[in-house]
């Protein structure tokens, strides 16, 4: 389980080809190609406005984004034909950059509804409140939380860091095949960052994969990516190993911008 050579052996999980997408009529993605196999962690880095979050939202199925060309295959199926809730039930999870507050609904109720939606889809029996709480205890420990967070309304009055931890709690509870973390590391203090990174590492399995969208190098000191991609002006312009991330940390993004935009 060292990570080496896994890229050759894992199953194809996500295959993005020539993806173009617009938001409010503006083209943000301009031909993204990306292949993610099971067992892998991919980091997608890039300057502000390069299209990182757009890519994450397109994978999640955000209605404000329109795919104008290209394809996304998830486990060989057309992901773009699936509604957001169908993607979730099929094992795709998007950790939001800006998690939404749901007033009046407790975290426990919300989490159980999400788990049961997925269980129902798989033909499994839905969990009652008591069984669910038992299963939850362990996951809570992972992110260093006590029960008190379960009886609070979802993200309502949570600090920025608490909201991000809550996304990771959902990740731990839902156990997706493909997790997309959209700048989950931004706005976290060092302890929270470590907890988040350690949880992601613990949840790593040969049959799942993680796409980590990030602006900063620092989370990669705690999570070992198999591949690092640089997104610039809506395209992946460079891919490499972890050393690429380090190079970006030292040299910034300017040296790597797409030649076409420089010329």
């Amino acid at each position: 389980m060292t990570g080496q050579g896994k890229r050759e052996t894992g199953d194809m999980l996500l295959e993005i080809q020539n993806l173009h997408a617009t938001v409010e009529g503006r083209e943000v993605l301009r031909g993204v190609d990306l292949v993610v196999r099971t067992g892998e962690v991919h980091a997608i880095m890039g300057p502000n406005g390069s299209g990182k979050s757009t890519l994450a939202q397109v994978l999640g199925g955000h209605p404000a984004y329109t795919v104008t060309a290209g394809s996304i295959l998830y486990e060989g199926k057309d992901l773009l034909a699936l509604k957001p809730e169908e993607r979730a039930r099929e094992g795709v999870f998007l950790a939001f950059q800006y998690p939404v507050a749901i007033r009046g609904i407790t975290n426990a109720y919300f989490l159980r509804s999400a788990v049961n939606a997925i269980r129902k889809h798989r033909g499994e029996e839905e969990l009652g409140p008591v069984e669910f709480m038992d299963a939850l205890e362990e996951k809570l420990k992972l992110i260093g939380w006590d029960d008190s967070y379960l009886n609070r309304p979802v993200n309502d009055g949570f600090s920025g860091g608490e909201k991000k931890r809550n996304e990771i709690l959902q990740l731990a509870v839902l156990e997706p095949k493909l997790a997309i973390l959209d700048e989950t590391d931004s706005g976290l203090d060092i302890d929270a960052l470590k907890t988040v990174a350690q949880t992601v590492e613990k949840l790593r399995r040969p049959d799942n994969a993680t796409v980590l969208v990030t602006h900063y190098y620092r989370i990669l000191t705690h999570i070992q990516p198999d591949v690092v991609h640089v997104l610039s002006a809506g395209r992946i312009v460079k891919s490499g190993g972890k050393e690429l991330a380090l190079e970006l940390e030292e040299r910034g993004y300017d040296w790597i911008r797409e030649p076409a935009t420089v010329a």
Partner: protein, 435 residues
């Protein structure tokens, strides 16, 4: 349009109500005169600019008389009540001892007919000291009309230091009146919780059947020094009912009042809530919810009067409006001169579930002291599409996501009810309305 009420009053005063004490007769005479003077409000008046009471003014309502209509069955009452403990039942404003029960009430507590209390005993003196002293009938035609026809009502007296373990429920039921003629009842409540006592009191307004009727209610709640009161008011009358109400509370020093108002019934409802924080260190939670559909209209006008220093008030009103429903909220906060260190927060959020639903929200702050913290905010809008997407991205269907968000909007208010048993019952009522 006021004349026939004046004529009805003359008949009322010379008949069954003639046995009342002289001081009460005097109040009534003053109140009917004031009603005739004020007349029904019109939309030209600032306080009524979103609510027309023309349907009430133009209908010939005659005074309901429980004596002439069959009593509701006990099972029917049980179905309409919120709490399982002791209860007082009033049919068209008249006390019904056969349907009331007192099991579990501690000694020294008076819970029963106001008319009976006024006849004798120490409770009578207390009732006299408070009745019609708090609700401002001189300023309101509806409160004046209620006071003019004041014959009976619910009187609850919890003496100093006494703790009620179970909630006490007062049920005001509008019967079917025994005829098709539109009837009006003027329910009256007086709740006095003395120094250091604790109580939870529920007032439930409900209708038997689905006929047109008008309820014109007034309740006064007095919270003594250091007392803690949870007061729940649930209006679940029929969809053809007219409901106008005044709730008036007064708090003494270091007291706590949680006032929870839930409105789901009526075709036209207007509820004026006026609270006075009249002793230092008093705390108020004013917590309201209206869930409306069809062509229901509900107007809540609240006043929080910070008369003394170091008091805190937290007001939260949420409205869920479907179909062609119209919700009105007007929240006035007054900070009197000298009411320093007042801490007051007001929020009114309205959820519009259809393009035809409408909400009007108006805060009014009147601050006459300088060292105070007052905030207010209001929202009117549909479900947040980002929140819907967030829930969908966790596997929930759009329908489930919508109903969860809508329920959450209501549950936010229910969550502030401190009594779990009553919260649970209100929750069930609200879920049924949302279904």
């Amino acid at each position: 349009m006021t004349e026939h009420y004046v004529r009805d009053f003359q008949a009322f005063a010379s008949n069954g109500a003639a046995g009342a004490p002289a001081w009460l007769r005097e109040i009534r005479e003053g109140a009917i005169a004031r009603f005739a003077e004020l007349g029904f409000p019109t939309m030209k008046q600032e306080e009524w600019r979103f609510t027309s009471v023309a349907p009430i003014a133009e209908t010939r309502f005659t005074l309901a008389s429980a004596a002439r209509s069959p009593l509701p069955a006990r099972a029917e009452i049980e179905r309409l009540t919120l709490a399982a403990g002791p209860r007082l039942v009033f049919a068209d404003g008249r006390y019904v001892p056969e349907l009331s029960s007192f099991a579990g009430l501690p000694d020294g507590v008076y819970a029963g007919s106001l008319a009976a209390a006024l006849k004798a005993g120490p409770s009578g003196a207390l009732a006299r000291a408070h009745l019609a002293r708090h609700a401002h009938w001189r300023d309101s035609a509806f409160a004046a009309l209620n006071t003019a026809f004041l014959a009976d009502g619910a009187f609850v007296h919890v003496p100093a230091g006494c703790v009620l373990a179970q909630p006490l429920e007062v049920v005001f039921v509008a019967t079917d009146g025994g005829s098709d003629e539109p009837k009006v009842a003027h329910p009256r409540g007086l709740i006095v919780v003395e120094r250091g006592a604790q109580a939870a009191v529920v007032e439930t307004y409900t209708s038997l059947g689905d006929r047109v009727h008008w309820t014109n209610a007034v309740s006064e709640v007095v919270v003594g020094e250091g007392a803690r009161v949870e007061y729940y008011r649930v209006q679940r009358e029929g969809r053809r009912a007219y409901h106008v109400a005044t709730t008036q509370s007064r708090q003494e020093r270091d007291s706590f009042l949680g006032l929870h108002a839930v409105t789901v019934g009526g075709t036209l409802a207007r509820h004026d809530i006026t609270t006075v924080l009249d002793g230092t260190g008093a705390e108020l939670i004013l917590n309201g919810l209206y869930v409306l559909g069809g062509s229901q209209h509900a107007d809540h006008h609240t006043v929080i009067d910070h008369a003394r220093a170091h008091c805190a008030s937290h007001e939260f009103f949420n409205g869920v409006l479907a179909e062609r429903a119209h919700g009105v909220f007007n929240g006035r906060i007054i900070v009197r001169p000298g009411a320093q260190r007042t801490d007051s927060k007001q929020t009114n959020n309205n959820l519009l579930l259809s393009t035809e639903a409408r909400a009007d929200s108006q805060p009014q702050l009147e601050i006459y002291a300088d060292d105070v913290k007052c905030t207010h905010g209001s929202t009117v809008g549909p479900l947040d599409p980002t929140a819907l997407y967030y829930l969908q991205s966790r596997g929930l269907s759009p329908e489930t996501a919508r109903s969860l968000l809508t329920y959450g909007f209501a549950a936010e208010i229910l969550g502030r009810m401190q009594r779990a048993d009553l919260r649970e019952r209100c929750d069930r009522l609200v879920r049924a309305e949302l279904a």
